[in-house]
Amino acid sequence: MIAPPPSGPVPWDKHFAQELLFDMLRIRRMEEKCAELYGAQKIRGFLHLYIGEEACAVGALHALTPEDAIVATYREHGHALVRGVPMNAIMAEMFGKSAGCSRGRGGSMHLFDAAARFYGGNAIVGGGLPLAAGLALADRMQGRQRVTACVFGEGAMAEGAFHESMNLAALWRLPVLFCCENNLYAMGTALGRSESQTDLCAKAGSYGVPAQKADGMDVVAVHEAMKAAAHQVREGLGPFFLELQTYRFRAHSMFDPELYRDKAEVEQWKRRGPIHTFSARLKAEGKLTEGEFLALDARANAQVQAAVEFAEAAAWEPVEDLLRDVVAPT
C-alpha cells in the first residue's frame, strides 16, 4: 500500500521553506539536464539519477552544519549540490573536465569536495559505511563535536560492511548518523527479495542503535527527523539510524530496462512527488505563490544553463597529467 501524498502544516517560515524548495528544484532541473546530456553523449559512464528522492538530500543535509561530514554513494548529485558543491564544478566533473570537482577523474559516481567535507561519491555498495565510522572515530579521538552523516541505499544493508560498521559505531558510540534512503529497489531487486527482515529499523535497532523512519517524500518530515537525530549524535549519545522511505522515479541507471516493476507503481509514487506536494502545501499556507514558484524554477534552470555552458567551455586535463594524484608528489 502506497501512503497518501505528504500533507499537513509546514512549521517553517516562508524564507526557509522556499530555500528548501529551491534546492529540490535545483537537483531536479540539473538531473533532467544530465539525462539529456547523457543522450547527447556529453556525459558518459554510469549516471544514476536521484529524481523523486530530492526531499531526502534536501531535508537531511539542511539539518547539518558546515563542520559535519557527508559520505554518500554513486547516486549523490543531489547531496553534493545541497552540500554546497558548486553546480558548475559538478557539471564539469560529469563532462570529464579538469574544472570538475574531482578533476574529471571521477565522473558522476565520484563527486568529492574537501572544502564542503563531502567525502564522495563511493560506487562500491556499502563502501561508505566503514569510512563514515572512521571519520567519526577521528572526531571522537580529537574531541570534536561533529556529525558524520552516511547516506546509503537499503541494498547496502545486505552487505557485511553495513553490519560491521553498525556494530563498530554502536560499540564505540561513534557520532555517525546512518541515513538509509530506502527506495524499495536495489537495481532490480525489491526489498522483500533481499532482506529477511524488511523492517529496516528493527534490523538497525538490533545493534542497540536508536532507529527511526521518516517519509522520504516529505521534506518537512525528513528535516525534522534529521535535526533531532543530528542533535542526539552531536551530544555524544552514539550513532543513530534514520530510514527515509522514498522512491526513484527513473531507472536505476541509464542502462536499466526496468523489467522488475510496473509503470502503475511508478505513477502512484509520482503522486507523492516531493516537489509538487511540498509546493502545494506552501501555496495552501500562503507561503508560496505560483509566480514565486515559477521564479524559483526559472532561477534553477538558469543555474543549470550556466553550469552547462561552464562545463562546455572548460578545458580538458592534458594527457601528460594522466599520472598525477596517484600518490603524493615527490
Binding site: I124, V125, A158, T189, L322
Partner: protein, 323 residues
C-alpha cells in the same frame, strides 16, 4: 551462425542448466533484472527462481554459499557483477575454495564456477574498471579462464562445470556486444592457449578484452609487411607455457598485451616464462603493453590514454623489431 558474445554465454548457461539438475545460477540481479549485462535474460522464466537465484548485495555471503553448495553436491554458477565487487568475496575464493582440497588432504574438492565481468573502456572510473585477473591467476587451486571470442564464450562453461576444482571465468565487459561467427564445433580445451593468427615475424601474446585490439594491431603491422602471430592465452591459470614457448620459438620476438597494471601483471609472468624457456630463441628483448599505473580515470581521453591501445601495440612491436 552469427552470435553475440552475450548470447553465447546465455546459450552455454541454458545448456548447462538443462543438462544437469545440479547446476544453478546465482548472483545479483540475475533473475528479474535479467542480468547486469543481460547474460541471463529469459533464464528465470525458463528455469524458475530456485535455479535462477537472485541474491541480496552480499558478495561474501553468496560466493561463500556457492562453495558450500558445491561441497554439498550442487554445481553452482555464481555470477559476481564485476571483478571490482569480487574483492568483497576474495576471502571465500582464496581462503576457502582454492585451498580446501589441499587443506583437507584431498577430501573436499570444490566444483564451483564463478563468472564475473572485468575491464575498462566505458568511462566507469576507478571503482568499476579494474582488471584483476592476475590476482586470481596467482592463486594455486583454481583455474582462471578468459574467453575472448564468441566461440570460447560458448564453449568454456561446460568444461568449467566438469572441472572438479573451482574455476573463475572473466568476461571482459567490452566483449558482450561483440558479434562473431559461432563455429559448428565450439568446444573449448580449457588447458590450452589458442593461436588466433599465424605469422612468423613477431608474437603478440594477449587475452580477454585486449584480443580484438591485438588482432587489429596485427592488421596494421601486416600493412607494413610485418607478419604477427597472435596468441590468445585464454587460460590464465595454469598458463599454457608450451604454446607460449612454441610461438616464441617460431618468431623469436614477443610483445605481451595485458589490460592489467604493469607491476606484478600477468604480462610479467608471461615474460618470465619466456625467459625461463626461450631465452636462447630470442632475437630481442620482450616488450609489454599494459595499463598505466593509475586508478582508471573517468574522462574519455584520460581513460583511453591509460589503457592498451592499437597504436601502442603497433609501436611496441616496431620497437622489438627495431623498426
Amino acid at each position: 551462425m552469427k552470435t553475440s558474445y552475450r548470447e553465447a554465454i546465455r546459450q552455454a548457461m541454458r545448456e548447462a542448466l538443462a543438462a544437469d539438475a545440479r547446476v544453478f545460477l546465482m548472483g545479483e540481479d540475475v533473475g528479474r533484472y535479467g542480468g547486469t549485462y543481460a547474460c541471463s535474460k529469459g533464464l528465470l522464466d525458463e528455469f524458475g527462481p530456485e535455479r535462477i537465484r537472485d541474491t541480496p548485495l552480499s558478495e561474501l555471503g553468496f560466493v561463500g554459499a556457492g562453495i558450500g553448495a558445491a561441497l554439498g553436491g550442487m554445481r553452482p554458477i555464481v555470477e559476481v557483477m564485476t571483478v571490482n565487487f569480487s574483492l568483497l568475496a576474495l576471502d571465500p575464493i582464496v581462503n576457502t575454495a582454492a585451498a580446501l582440497r589441499h587443506m583437507s588432504g584431498g577430501q573436499f574438492p570444490v566444483p564451483l564456477v564463478v563468472r564475473m565481468a572485468t575491464g575498462a573502456g566505458r568511462q566507469l572510473a576507478a571503482q568499476h574498471s579494474h582488471s584483476l585477473e592476475n590476482w586470481y591467476a596467482h592463486v594455486p587451486g583454481i583455474r582462471v579462464l578468459a574467453p575472448a571470442t564468441v566461440s570460447d564464450a560458448r564453449g568454456m562453461l561446460a568444461p568449467a562445470l566438469a572441472d572438479p576444482d573451482p574455476v573463475v571465468i572473466f568476461e571482459h565487459a567490452q566483449l558482450y556486444n561483440q558479434e562473431g561467427e559461432l563455429p559448428e564445433d565450439w568446444r573449448c580445451d580449457i588447458c590450452r592457449a589458442a593461436v588466433r593468427r599465424e605469422g612468423g615475424d613477431i608474437s603478440l601474446i594477449t587475452y580477454g578484452g585486449s584480443l580484438p585490439k591485438t588482432l587489429e594491431a596485427a592488421e596494421w603491422l601486416a600493412a607494413e609487411g610485418i607478419a604477427a602471430e597472435v596468441v590468445d592465452l585464454r587460460v590464465l591459470r595454469p598458463l599454457d607455457t608450451a604454446t607460449i614457448a612454441a610461438t616464441v620459438g617460431r618468431t623469436h620476438r614477443a610483445v605481451i598485451v595485458d589490460e592489467g597494471w604493469r607491476s606484478g601483471s600477468l604480462a610479467a609472468e608471461v615474460m618470465a616464462r619466456i625467459l625461463e624457456n626461450c631465452f636462447f630463441d630470442l632475437d630481442a628483448p620482450v616488450a609489454r603493453v599494459c595499463s598505466e599505473e593509475v586508478p582508471i580515470p573517468y574522462a574519455k581521453h584520460l581513460e583511453e590514454a591509460a589503457l592498451p591501445q592499437v597504436p601502442k601495440i603497433v609501436a611496441a612491436a616496431r620497437g622489438v623489431l627495431g623498426k
